[in-house]
Symmetry: none
Subunit: 404 residues, 2 copies
């Protein structure tokens, strides 16, 4: 059913407030020795108690078998079909390091690389230079090539050989070819316009690369050129205000998540590093917003590291502070993840994520533990992440009746 | 998956019979004191026993978070995507008061209203005149303006200031503007054609309004004009006969549900007021149809009134009579609701509805009570209402294999 088409005629404003807590990479897989997942291993009495009074389920981030990156995972959770609304890699790279991307900017992912005298790429990662060396080179480039033909250039270190480039100027287009030959032993490709209106962009990028190579030439570094790809502009996504009539705020500590929240029009609230600080930020801004998105990162990082016990500890830390959400006055509280990050996989995964919803207007089900196996028996069943927002809107009485 | 597109090649006729019992507004929410829903509070041993031998689940009327009106809720249950097949307000208003709408008719919702000498609307509801006064005015209008330029006009009282208008004639179009300014203090708007073929309709409606105003002028009433809106025609819906090869009959007591059944081509069987009478009607017509839709209203009415114990009693009354469905010879019996109407919300809601299916070809699950929480653990899971008809067809062995 295409709920998206009927939402605009149904949604209305009111005073009820919604809190969405995203525990990144929440779901896991059983440990080979114990047969228990991270959530089943952790001592999380507060999350269990909240689940006891909640309607629970398993939320599928995109669709069966699909492992999402943070971008699609969050878009789904925010109610936007992640297959319909795809965000360019360049945009995500910029958001990930805290570069604010404007409506007219062109965002690009880049590598430092090594080429020989014939412009043949001999190392696509310039020997994986250190992040420190990357920073020195980026500083140099930024100081010498801050502007090209009237287009403002922002260059930022990501990590090791990776960097982000942001062009700001009128009429920029992502319809240009990449200079990356994808294979070593092949020549750098020219950047060419794929459509007439991309001509300026192709010329600006070509000049930018020439000037970067001039700047790098005298430097002692394996990095003597850049590979540019993932050209993308800010996607046309209706904001929370427009789509849901919600004044929304983001309380996150990592740039990627602030960037994703900004993408859908949330205000980004300054906050401290711990969950305590984040909850205090929510408390203080409570009156000013209808919807709060609170993001907790540590579980995902531990999962990515394959650190099972570290993820268990991160869950227990969260648990020790989470009970506070009860007393904050929210009409609707959802606690879930954006996707699973099982430590045994060292990565994001496709497994649906435990989900709990607290509201006056749910039926608390038989789920007494906030785990994958228990949530699978919850009243919400297994559902798509895009259904989470309509459910939150409904439980805050924001959706009028459809039809007579 | 779009089952709709493959059904026509799969469906076949046979002698098996299907009974669909719709207990309107069946689902509920927990009472604040007991923590139990209406179904959990009611003593319903017969429904529980039926659920024990059935495959159960929770049926979502439209999609997550969406509260349906009776129209979309029934269309979904009848197997028609309620977002694709939207029924105009005018049609529903006419159906609700038992006005049979023909294929070429134009159905309209109206208000009696008060305007001043400058045609400025001073009261959009004419001071909420009584239903009795409404009836007197409608009779007067009907007797004086039964026809306009060859178009037959039928006017009927709905309630207080509300009425329904049905135009019957060739080439009528809903593509005309409303005369309702929506706000008081603004002038009545002219009714104008939104497309060339709607010119006649706009002229007919304009003349109709002039003549109604002439008729109302000498009358002592705050009602001196009509606001017309929700212009709609009979939607193009394939009938049960065409779509499912089912001869279908409706056994309902309220006009709205008879109207909805007529919309999909069901025969409307005359019946008495109680469930006993309705079951007897089914028994007598048993040989003549493949599919019976039996509608019970009282639960919804009690829910809308916020009458928790009234809804509990209504459920117990239904329970005392429902066991009869066992001995009637049906191959497939489904008992469910069109949507939830929790007494605590005083209204329809978005919550999925308990659903049970009796058939030789289901696996009876562990569900022993016909409640929201138990059905959530049934074998059918949480599913969309549009899946109910294909399930009923399958269990009556009416769907051939798809593909080789």
């Amino acid at each position: 059913m295409d709920t998206e088409t009927i939402l605009p005629q149904l949604v209305q404003r009111n005073e009820h407030k919604i809190l969405l807590v995203v525990i990144d990479g929440l779901g896991g897989l059983p440990h080979s020795e114990t047969g228990l997942t991270e959530l089943e291993t952790a001592h999380i009495p507060n999350l269990d108690a909240l689940a006891h009074g909640a309607a629970c389920g398993l939320m599928m981030p995109v669709s069966a078998g699909i492992t999402p990156g943070s971008g699609p995972a969050h878009l789904g959770l925010f109610g936007y079909d992640p297959i319909k609304y795809q965000i360019g890699r360049g945009i995500l790279e910029c958001l990930g390091i805290g570069l604010a991307v404007g409506k007219d900017d062109l965002a690009i992912r880049g590598n430092f690389a090594t080429m020989d005298a014939e412009r043949v790429v001999t190392d696509r990662r310039a020997g994986r230079i250190s992040t420190e060396e990357n920073r020195r080179l980026v500083e140099l480039i930024q100081s010498k090539v801050g502007e090209v033909s009237g287009v403002r250039v922002t260059v930022k270190t990501v990590k090791e050989h990776r960097l982000a480039v942001l062009l700001s100027g009128p009429s920029l287009s992502p319809a240009v070819t990449e200079n990356d030959p994808q294979k070593e032993g092949e020549k750098l490709r020219p950047i060419e316009a794929l459509s007439p209106e991309a001509g300026t962009t192709a010329r600006v990028l070509t000049e930018f690369l020439q000037r970067v190579e001039e700047v790098l030439k005298p430097v002692q570094s394996r990095a003597n050129t850049l590979l540019l790809r993932g050209f993308s502009r800010f996607p046309e996504i209706p904001t929370f205000e427009k789509r849901y009539l919600l004044r929304a705020a983001c309380v996150a500590t990592y740039p990627m998540y602030k960037g994703l929240a900004r993408l859908v029009g949330m205000d980004i609230l300054p906050t401290g590093d711990g969950l305590d600080d984040q909850l205090e930020t929510v408390r203080q801004a409570y009156q000013n917003y209808d919807f709060f998105y609170l993001h907790v990162k540590k579980t995902d990082a531990m999962g990515e590291d394959g650190n099972f016990s570290g993820k268990v500890q991160a869950l227990e830390q969260i648990d020790s502070k989470i009970a506070a959400v009860r007393e904050m006055g929210f009409e609707v509280v959802v606690i879930t993840g954006d996707h699973s990050t099982p430590a045994v996989l060292h990565s994001h995964s496709w497994h649906p994520v435990p989900f709990m919803m607290l509201s006056r207007y749910i039926i608390p089900d038989h789920v007494n533990r906030f785990t994958e196996r228990e949530c699978a028996e919850g009243m919400l069943g297994v559902f798509h992440s895009t259904e989470a927002m309509p459910l939150m809107l409904a439980c805050s009485l924001r959706l009028q009746k459809f039809g007579a």
